[in-house]
Symmetry: C2
Subunit: 260 residues, 2 copies
């Protein structure tokens, strides 16, 4: 009952912050967690003996001496965040990450992502996965952004959150960090300068750029809009819908990598 | 009860295909639907009088003589596809779209997207939104792809499905279409040639390209793998997770547009 009650408790952000723990749910997420350096505290399984990958995970957990609690499907559902639970979740320690410990390579080009009150957990998870895959050195979450250790963010990051330095910070902390490391802040905004024009422009693209992406409905915050040296946009066809924030982030990171 | 029972029925793909109707749920989706050329047959609302945008939609529906059915929140939930319903949905006719009616501009560069058994409705909706925003002329769904008129695809396409020519076809129909219009088929695959190398390569990028993206777990089908003239990949960092299929599609379409 200990893992079960903790997992239920961790559905609330406040409990995650107080206890310094989070839940990774589903076969894929727990597999990624076990391949990561994070400390796993316990797991909850519905042991109907039927799923080969789930059985393999349970064997690994037991090998490592991690407590595994068998529960009924009903009990599992009470701690689950998914509509069709896969019958496995694990509790792990939220890694201690802070801007102070984030050191950047001296000479290499540097790309960062800043989440400026991005609220959809699926979008944030996809952005973390994208940032990790396209070589961003970190992803920094400003206030108003969904909790990075929310169960759906964890799941949709597909393991990226366990390796990629993603962490929350205030606007002031971000400002000091960017100036300390001489990183240019770009804001992604529909009405901004066309990205393709910037990439072909007369002035060279800076070697160190942080791209801030804003809230799905409201766009960038006043802080970021004021602090950004440029506002840029991926050009879209006239009269059509904007891009999904994860897709826009991917295109910007790809373009910055291509030219750096 | 007529709109309510029809909306419930349309939760099944078979019913959508038999009746030629689909459901658009939520304020944003219904607003986009009413701005589109599609024929709206009726709407279902929970009229608690509280939501301004919803009230405005109902007024528009009544102006146009479209039947609006007031129901209880419980009845609405029985027809709803969302966890937190916004109390409005509309039923509309699936537009008649076929490859035969898809004519392509003669001289302009042409980009298409092919969905090769992409099964996640959120991913398919995001791809439709992306294809529309980045100027793909059409999106073609091969067998095994989730139904394009599935409620979640409709919702996550953010209205793109109502304008962008998205339609299903068989592999044989696709093959004839591509050869008739002299379109090169590229397949997106993790192990493919690096996209950036292709874009800088000696051989010019063709003016007419269809990019096929595959199933989230299984990748491209044998048909597409055999039929593609090139297999291409967005390069990712070694040892990390793949890109989300919507993000990868966005990067490829952006790159193809940049060079065409």
């Amino acid at each position: 009952v200990r893992v079960l009650s903790t997992a239920r408790d961790l559905q609330r952000r406040h409990a995650r912050e107080r206890q310094g723990l989070f839940v990774a749910e589903g076969i894929r997420a727990v597999e990624e967690l076990l391949r990561s350096p994070l400390v796993v505290r316990g797991a909850l399984v519905v042991d109907d003996g039927e799923h080969t990958r789930r059985r393999a995970i349970v064997a690994t957990l037991r090998d490592r001496g991690i407590p595994v609690e068998d529960v009924s499907a009903t009990d599992f559902a009470s701690a689950s965040d998914t509509e069709t639970p896969q019958g496995i979740l694990a509790i792990a320690e939220i890694p201690k990450r802070g801007l102070a410990t984030l050191t950047l390579p001296n000479l290499d080009p540097v790309r960062l992502v800043v989440l400026d009150a991005v609220q959809d957990p699926g979008n944030v998870g996809t952005i973390l996965r994208t940032a990790s895959a396209l070589g961003a050195v970190a992803t920094l979450a400003l206030p108003g952004t969904v909790d990075l250790w929310n169960a759906k963010v964890v799941r949709s990051s597909m393991g990226a959150l366990f390796h990629h330095p993603a962490l929350g910070c205030t606007w002031e902390e971000l400002g000091s960090f960017l100036s300390k490391w001489e990183i240019a802040l770009w804001g992604a905004e529909n009405g901004g300068e066309p990205l393709s024009a910037m990439m072909q422009g007369a002035s060279p693209v800076p070697r160190r750029v942080a791209v801030a992406v804003g809230n799905e409905g409201g766009g960038l915050s006043a802080h970021v809009r004021a602090g950004a040296v440029r506002l840029v946009a991926v050009e879209i066809e006239p009269g059509v819908e904007s891009l999904n924030v994860g897709v826009a982030t991917g295109i910007m990171l790809y373009e910055l990598r291509r030219l750096s």
